[in-house]
Amino acid sequence: MPTATYDGTAVEVNDEGFFTDPDRWTEAMAAQIAKEQGIDTLTDRHWKVIAFMRAEYAAKGTGPTVRALGKTSGVTVKELYQLFPKGPAKTAAKIAGIPKPHGCI
């Protein structure tokens, strides 16, 4: 399993860079992960989504899809794409230190 170092701590990630253990994540790591994803500054709106992703993961065992985020997070899908242009569900999951959301089939 590959590791990445955030805030001076080595953490296990999968081969796409998603945390395998969300408990290893700290708020201090988020800004650095965000920079790797091309997001220079995390605003309050970003943090609202990050907190929501972690709460959903804790409750359901998987992160929400973009559509579910748009319906329940209080942030519209359009704004989600403005905040996380490379794909809100995946990018926010990565910054929030949770595993990649399961795509439905």
């Binding site: 559509r67 329940t72 899908v77 989600l80 242009p85 794909g87 795509g103 089939i105």
Partner: protein
């Protein structure tokens, strides 16, 4: 005392579970009431063939009532809401229907209103779908008029019913335009929100190869934000990240939601209106005497008739166990089995479950239908399935030699 089992929906899941339960209980033990808003049972796998003139409305629609065994009450009404605290369903005609056990089998509906532009005047003309019968018939006319240009097939968001059907539409469109002798004038493109042609890696490689062989373009990770269309001219799909795919005719699979009453029933559904259940017992998270089957259930596998059939065996047993006060059996493994029509009288077959992705080999054992490989046998299997649907699957019979667990004999590992 006689128990009352209420089944909401008389499609694939509602019909087969009502029939299984009717066989399990005599009439003094259980009263079985099935509710649906109309009496039209559509054989949904047939919808794919309608736009190409390969199936007609009268072949794929039958009476719901006719496929329910004697001794099952059929109540034709809309559903207003479910009150799980009171064990009661409120119907649109004012009836309050109490239950000991409730089965949610009302499937999925198309949420066109969630995508800007899908409800506009171009719908049915230059933008259509094959996921309902009226739309599939409109699309047949649009295809007949189409004599060249850009045809795009777009899946708006997952989950959708039968996730291979939009790919099958591409394969059949290639066949259709070749037969008409105008394939060289038609640009076909498949536009998907997924990062590949399909979610499961081995099948995605095979299916992407088939798209390439048939000259169908593939656009991935496209999350459709709006459809800008003109009823008489070209239009374009626009993604949330501002990419554009222009078209002359768009075949769109809208986002899916659960039935509208699920959202009106406090605690019953998730944010999309599907019913959260234990993926192995199918018992709802909201109440122990509520279960869900088929597309209505929020389980991490395909929304497909084969899944519903395999769920039926596990669910019937679990309802009996629940009524007896015995522990439930966590036996459903997510088994899914799909014939994928590839055109020119051929099809391929995939078979998988929660844990195992579609693999190559043969089904259900070493001597059987080829998996993940085009063949005429699989096409014949697909055609035979309609007979099987009405005569074996809806009555809720087990298939000899084929249990609900995914078979592993005959499969080749990675």
């Amino acid at each position: 005392m006689t128990k009352r089992i209420v089944v909401l929906g008389a499609g694939t899941g509602g019909t087969l579970i009502a029939n299984r339960l009717r066989r399990a209980y005599d009439r003094t033990e259980a009263e079985i009431v099935v509710v649906d808003r109309d009496d039209d049972h559509v054989y949904q796998p047939g919808l794919l063939f309608v736009p190409f003139g390969l199936a007609d409305a009268n072949e794929i629609v039958r009476s719901r009532r006719e496929y329910l065994h004697a001794g099952i009450a059929f109540h034709e009404a809309a559903i207003d809401r479910v009150d799980t605290a009171a064990n009661e369903v409120r119907l649109g005609d004012g009836t309050a229907l109490g239950y000991d056990v409730l089965v949610i089998a009302t499937g999925a509906r198309l949420a066109r209103d969630e995508t800007a532009g899908l409800d506009g005047p171009a719908w049915g003309a230059t933008v259509s779908t094959f996921y309902t019968l009226p739309d599939a018939l409109d699309l047949r006319h649009a295809l007949r008029r189409f004599d060249g240009g850009r045809l795009v097939v777009n899946v708006v968001d997952m989950p959708v019913k039968c996730p291979v059907a939009p790919l099958e539409f591409c394969f059949l469109a290639d066949w259709y335009f070749r037969r008409r002798g105008i394939r060289d004038r038609v640009e076909l493109t498949y536009v998907t929100p997924l990062d590949a042609a399909f979610t499961k890696p081995v099948a995605a490689r095979t299916l992407a190869g088939l798209l390439a062989d048939k000259g169908v373009g593939l656009v991935t990770e496209f999350n459709t934000g709006s459809v800008e269309a003109d009823p008489a001219g070209p239009g374009k799909l626009v993604s949330y990240d501002d990419r554009e795919v222009p078209f002359d005719l768009a075949v769109v699979v809208p986002a899916h939601s659960g039935a509208a009453y699920v959202a009106r029933s406090p605690g019953l559904g998730d944010e999309l209106g599907f019913v959260p259940v234990d993926p192995h017992t199918l018992q709802a998270k909201t109440a122990p005497n509520v279960f869900a089957i088929g597309d209505a259930a929020g389980v991490p596998t395909s929304k497909a008739g084969s899944v519903t059939h395999f769920e039926g065996e596990a669910l019937a047993g679990n309802i009996e166990r629940f009524l007896d006060g015995r522990p439930l059996d966590a036996s459903f493994d997510g088994h899914t089995n799909c014939f994928i029509e590839t055109g020119f009288g051929k099809a391929l077959l995939i078979d998988f479950n929660y844990e195992t992705e579609p693999l190559t080999g043969h089904f259900p054992a070493e001597v059987g239908l080829p998996l993940l490989k085009e063949s005429r046998l699989n096409h014949l299997g697909k055609l035979m399935f309609q007979w099987f649907y009405w005569h074996v699957l809806l009555p809720g019979h087990d298939v000899p030699g084929l249990g609900s667990d995914m078979p592993v004999r005959g499969k080749k590992g990675d």
